[in-house]
């Protein structure tokens, strides 16, 4: 199903349940009634181009070549990304942490005990990355969009890219350890649930990285060139 402005939201959600967290992050509430994507976005002050871009990205897993991303879309996109951050920190990560504890209660293996610590390390890196985005990258981008010439710039594209490589790598390692290397005792079910959470998170983070790599960074470079 391809989403267009005239698509009824109720039908869209029925066919594509993956839209639910996306709607939440954009601030589009359920109880959608007869709303189309267009009317709902207009109602809630959400840029429909950004909504369609993000939704189609989730559904296809690719950035469409014919989309030309406009810099005016940036404030809405950044708000979306910030809402994703909140969701990770307030919902997803605590969920995963709790699931790890459950698993550890049922498995005495030393390697399994270390998973908790491994995840803590991973969370530290994630927090660093999200802080960097919230406090350095996003304000900088908004300044560029606003045309402000600011001397303060701690933003480094290379550092930015390095962050999410590290994070994705650790998550992949954790999955691998759970699937291949860590022996199971009585924790089969909680391990399965944990892995389901991790797969879901991994996909989400992957889309997040794609937005950063294929949209944010090129736009920043373009805006910097225009400014100079």
């Amino acid at each position: 199903m391809n989403l267009i402005p005239e698509t009824k939201l109720a039908e869209a959600v029925e066919s594509l349940p993956a839209l639910l967290p996306i709607m939440e992050r954009f601030g589009l509430p359920l109880g959608v009634g007869e709303h189309t994507i267009q009317t709902m976005c207009a109602d809630k002050g959400v840029d429909i181009n950004v909504f369609l871009f993000v939704s189609n990205l989730y559904l296809s897993g690719e950035v469409s070549k014919d989309i030309r991303f406009e810099s005016v879309w940036l404030p809405c996109l950044l708000r979306y990304l910030q809402q994703s951050h909140n969701e990770y920190l307030e919902e997803r990560y605590p969920e995963i942490k709790a699931q790890i504890s459950k698993m550890q209660a049922l498995n005495e293996n030393r390697g399994v005990k270390m998973v908790g610590h491994f995840f803590e390390e991973y969370m530290k890196e994630v927090n660093e990355h999200l802080d960097y985005e919230n406090n350095t990258v996003f304000p900088y981008i908004l300044q560029l969009v606003g045309g402000q010439l600011s001397g303060q710039n701690n933003f480094s594209v290379d550092e930015y890219k390095e962050h999410h490589d590290d994070i994705e790598e650790k998550l992949a390692d954790l999955k691998n350890l759970l699937i291949r290397h860590l022996p199971v005792e009585n924790d089969g079910r909680s391990r399965r649930i944990l892995l389901e959470h991790l797969f879901k998170l991994e996909f989400d983070l992957h889309i997040h990285s794609m937005i950063e790599d294929h949209v944010l960074i090129p736009l920043v470079e373009k805006l910097e060139n225009e400014r100079n």
Partner: protein, 204 residues
């Protein structure tokens, strides 16, 4: 006199460790594991040898501290006195020591894990290391252990008398065979496969 009296299933156990506290603690755990029999103490290598000469034992638990400076002496004892020789480990051990003994027990394991290890047949413990040895070559295992101990590529190269380029090549193979990229991930792999012991880096 039999080392294991089959009728009453009782064993003759020897604990060779310089610390009396470890001996007392470990004896308690052995009793908690419902292992019946006598437990004898030796605090030095010479005491160990005289005890071994006096009667057969079913299991000897020995501290690395007694082995490290006297490897040939201990290797000789292991050859002469046949029983299960178990190394009591609490830190990262050079592989040469591991290969002298039939099994290892990690002193920083929980009491439940210790009891399990004591009641296990020798095979399961060895299986884990065997598995890792099947996946990774000897050299790759050497590199992996130094890597998780925190050494850089250059330092690993120096220790193994190979080039940095070769170390990197081994690392690539390790990643490809295990599917794990990060050093902390590889550390968990090493612990699961009993290639290293858990130390202060990883509080549980």
């Amino acid at each position: 006199m039999n080392a294991i009296d089959m009728a009453t299933q009782s064993e003759h156990i020897l604990i060779a460790h310089p610390s009396a506290i470890v001996y007392l603690g470990f004896s308690s755990v052995i009793k908690m594991a419902n292992i019946k029999g006598e437990i004898v103490y030796a605090y030095s290598l010479s005491q160990l040898e005289s005890r071994l000469k006096m009667q057969p034992y079913s299991r000897v638990f020995i501290s690395p501290m007694l082995v490290l400076n006297a490897v040939p002496v201990v290797a000789d004892l292991v050859q002469r006195f046949h029983c299960r020789w178990v190394l009591l480990v609490s830190e990262i051990m050079p592989r040469q020591l591991n290969e002298l003994f039939h099994e290892r027990i990690f002193l920083d394991d929980s009491v439940d894990e210790l009891i399990k290890s004591l009641n296990n047949n020798p095979e399961p413990q060895q299986n884990h290391s065997e598995l890792a040895k099947q996946i990774l070559s000897d050299r790759e295992l050497d590199v992996l252990k130094l890597l998780v101990e925190g050494f850089s590529n250059k330092e690993i190269a120096d220790k193994l008398y190979i080039s940095t380029h070769t170390v990197i090549s081994h690392r690539k193979n390790i990643i490809q065979k295990t599917g794990i990229k990060s050093v902390s991930g590889l550390t968990i792999f090493a612990v699961v496969n009993k290639l290293i012991g858990v130390d202060d880096y990883f509080p549980t």
